[in-house]
Amino acid sequence: DAGVTQSPTHLIKTRGQQVTLRCSPKSGHDTVSWYQQALGQGPQFIFQYYEEEERQRGNFPDRFSGHQFPNYSSELNVNALLLGDSALYLCASSLAGDYPLSYEQYFGPGTRLTVT
């Protein structure tokens, strides 16, 4: 049973550039959430996708956008990168259920983004 996969593992970008991160959910899961984790901090919720739509969103600017495909995989796009966007970006998959954000989440290994 394949778990959550993310690509790439590491990425170095220059301030002002754009980046796309990819995630494939655990088999059987239909919901994908994205988190940003700065060094020494807990994960911060960016947004959640279900049925190819953004269903929930955290306190992140519009520079952060996403997409979910019919096969439930997802992309996170960040435009106009800032030095402060350097972090580990985690993807988590879950089931949608009756209550959003109320099912256990399974995390991928993350993408380490460094902005110089």
Binding site: S33, Q41, G42, P43, Q44, F45, Q48, R55, Q56, R57, G58, N59, L90, Y99, P100, L101, S102, Y103, E104, Q105, Y106, F107, G108, P109, G110
Partner: protein, 112 residues
């Protein structure tokens, strides 16, 4: 909005027990517990739902007090593999949108 955990850090010897607490200023509809080892992704440990339903690993136990908006994670007979940072987490529902908040984290170190 972020749940507050206590203690911030704890050091145990193998075989000792520990309790990690999670407290929220917002109503808790469910509480999740995750463990994250250094350089790795968070791993699901347990979820506690309103009404008493629990789901998680057999060797992990936790409690959920809906009225006090608190949850506790109980680690018994600790092993070296228990070391890591423990996070509670909970969805928060507001009229402007829903989010998931992780707690402030508790660093647990188990030594031989």
């Amino acid at each position: 909005q972020q749940p507050v955990q206590s203690p911030q850090a704890v050091i145990l010897r193998e075989g000792e027990d520990a309790v990690i607490n999670c407290s929220s200023s917002k109503a808790l509809y469910s509480v999740h517990w995750y463990r994250q080892k250094h350089g790795e992704a968070p791993v699901f440990l347990m979820i506690l739902l309103k009404g008493g339903e629990q789901k998680g690993h057999e060797k992990i136990s936790a409690s959920f007090n809906e009225k006090k908006q608190q949850s506790s994670l109980y680690l018994t007979a600790s092993q070296l593999s228990y070391s890591g940072t423990y996070f509670c987490g909970s969805p928060v529902f507001t009229n402007t949108g829903n989010q998931f908040y992780f707690g402030t984290g508790t660093s647990l170190t188990v030594i031989p």
